[in-house]
């Protein structure tokens, strides 16, 4: 087990290092932060002073090495726009984002899983077709279109909910529905497919032929086997908790990590972008690790395989 964990951790570190390097190269080679942050009418001497102060007058390779060395000392750098540690800036935005993404994840699970299972168990019925139409619609519609549509109906026309901001709990309702709808649709489709595949397997027929109640067959044989691909998708959804709401946060003026990322990329505020990417990569890698472990728990063959390998 320990070699397995170490291998995964090493792979995770390499992934994170590659993400940071890629972001550095793309951001630094596509524009000088001084000109972008100070704007097109800034006096040349102000731009020069800014560049010198932030070390932007150094060769890019030197900047990269300095940045990488600092990361290993736990220093993620300072925001060039804000003058504060990038980590501090990012961390203070996380609660706002989680206030949307966690309830949205619950909504996805609460809607997507039962809808997918029920549709599979009633394949070909009106319910199944309705669920699939709704799922295709929810999956295909861009989140900003859904967001504006919801605002139009519930904020402008009906006046029931606010259109944007983060003042009260009611401000979170429309963003959560927007985020939840797309994920629930994907989850419903995925779960239905997985269930249908499992339901067609010989061991399900065998279990039924043995005289087990259908509910027992579904609970004891179909659901655990169908859970494996579904857990993979849930892993991705959990992995995107930190930065999975970029568009929705922009449309609803929600001051979370997504908004910060958009502003930081636009301004080439390198330390902030990289801090967010580090967090996202870490979350995604951790989530994948957990999924890997869950596979073992869900599928006895994987546990036995691991034991045999040991």
């Amino acid at each position: 087990m320990i070699p397995f964990i170490l291998t995964r951790l090493l792979r995770a570190l390499i992934t994170i290092a590659l993400v940071v390097t890629f972001a550095f190269v793309v951001l630094r080679l596509s524009g000088d932060p001084a000109t972008i942050i100070l704007g097109p009418e800034a006096p040349p001497e102000a731009i020069e002073a800014f560049r010198k102060s932030w070390g932007l007058d150094q060769p890019v390779l030197v900047q990269y090495l300095q940045y990488f060395a600092a990361i290993f000392q736990g220093d993620l750098g300072m925001s060039m726009r804000d003058g504060r540690p990038a980590f501090e800036l990012v961390v203070e935005r996380i609660p706002a984002t989680l206030a949307l993404t966690l309830p949205a994840l619950m909504l996805k699970l609460a809607l997507g899983l039962p809808a997918g299972v029920y549709a599979a168990l009633h394949q070909g019925t009106a319910f199944d077709r309705s669920v699939m139409v709704a799922a295709v619609f929810g999956f295909a519609i861009p989140s900003f279109v859904l967001a504006l549509g919801l605002v139009l109906v519930f904020a402008v026309n009906l006046g029931w909910l606010p259109s944007g901001g983060r003042d009260t709990v009611w401000h979170a309702v429309l963003p959560i529905i927007t985020l939840g709808a797309g994920g629930a649709a994907a989850l419903a489709r995925f779960t239905r497919s997985a269930m249908l595949e499992v339901l067609g397997r010989p061991y399900i027929r065998t279990a039924s032929a043995k005289g087990l109640l259908w509910a027992v067959v579904v609970r004891g044989h179909a659901l655990p086997n169908a859970a494996i691909p579904t857990v993979t998708l849930i892993g991705f959804l959990v992995g995107s908790l930190i930065a999975g709401a970029v568009v929705v946060e922009s449309v609803f003026s929600w001051p979370g990590v997504g908004r910060l990322l958009v502003v930081a990329v636009a301004n080439r505020d390198l330390a902030v972008v990289q801090c967010i990417l580090l967090l996202v990569a870490t979350t995604m890698v951790t989530s994948n690790l957990i999924v890997d472990f869950l596979y073992g728990a869900l599928d006895p063959r994987l546990r036995q395989g691991a034991r045999a390998a040991a």
Partner: protein, 543 residues
Amino acid sequence: MLITRRNTLRLGAAAAGSLAMPRLAFGQAGRPSITIAVQKIVNSNTLDVLREQSNVGERVFFGSIWESLIGRNLRGQLEAQPMLATEWKRIDDQTVELKLREGVRFHNGDEMTAEDVAFTFSRERMFGDTEPKNRTTIKAFEAIPTPRAGKELPPEVPAVARRAWPDLARVDIVDKYTVRFVNSTPDVTLEGRLLRYGSDIMSRRGWEDSASYLDWARKPVTTGPYKVERFVPDTELLLVSHDDYWGGLPPLASIRFIEVPEVASRVNGLLSGEYQFACDIPPDLIGEVESNAGFEVQGGTVLNHRLTVFDKNHAQLADPRVRRAMTHAVDRQAIVDSLWAGRTVVPAGLQWPYYDDMFHADWTVPEYNPELAISLLKEAGYKGDTIPYRLLNNYYTNQNATAQILVEMWKSVGLNVQIESKENWAQIMERGETRAIRDWSNSAPFNDPVSSIVNQHGPNGQQQQIGEWTNAEMNELCYFLETSLDRPARRKAFRRMLEICEREDPAYSVLHQNATFTAKSRAITWQASPAFAMDFGPGNFAV
């Protein structure tokens, strides 16, 4: 029906009639509180006038937080008027003496005195270790201070300050309510520089009491009718009434600026009554908003012109006749009519009427004359080689559409201009063989041509500093304009500069004046200023 921004808003507008009455919260003494949706509150995440030199910054600073000794009349045509100084006079060519308004209270309750004015223009707050450009006759006013920990100025602040006050030698305190600004060289623009963005007065104790520069810059203690209660960068700015304001009780209990990046979201919030004002409305949405009887769009031209800028080092643009052809091939009025619904104007070149006696009312941009353009290209021997046009994606309002129209107009006279989309200003300005044409805008921070044509296109201006353009005669005239006290001669020199930069050896071509539009409920009585600044001072808000 296509799902477009226009259709989406049309549906919303149709249903919003019953919501036209603004939902105002009434606070202290029955005064209302309002929420204003803006695309961006500030770019620098601070409320320091020297760090945040932008149009969006101007909107939240002036008329609300910051005030200068000499003000601009935001309810008129921006003419100079007494503000924190009640009167001023010239002592000599290099010195202006100002009498301060008595009884002005800062947001912390302190009275404003000459001490605060001198500190505002000190090395510690403004200039750092920079020196006056032409310091030859007068000793600089103070030793270079060692900044206290946490109070170091951001590097761009002294640079911006010195650009605004290149030759200021010192500020003398004559008495509690009298100060003298002493320049190291003769300068007719001293009074103009006193009303410019960045020359605004702050409380010395407010600075001293702040733990760090950032703490101060997020809650500066100033004299404006509203004081900063809360500032959350990229999110919101809450201002509350400064009840001891020298100009009378402010009409609003509080003003909340909130950042709503999407224009559709701003308009939706306005229509649903959450916001009382929605700023940065593009011209193509004005009709949609006003199709609802309860709402209107105010605003108009501001002190900012949109330009096309030339790099005369590009092989195809080295001959001024090609650049002249480009200036004559553009039907500017067509752009104003089609993209701006006629709500802005084609100005008289790079100048503004508030230049007063320096304004040349008879000057015009190059006439739209395609035949002349064709003839100039023929004379120059232009063979149809590609001229690159580096373009940002709608950094300016209507930028993409304007660029496409320009390219077609140039094409119609035989110019082969190709758009190259770029992502940011650094890519736009990067030196190289593909730099030929780009977009820009120029402002006039104070009422003299030095503030624009000299600062932007002169030897120290951006265009020359990045190596796009230079002209020896223009550079001599810039020096003359900055140092001469002979007003008729200065006026003549400015005329000659316009001839060089806009006609003979074009550095740029003025397209149109910029404009800004703010949507609001008709139930609110409020007058927009001919500037980005939003004035909510006494007498300019009623429901």
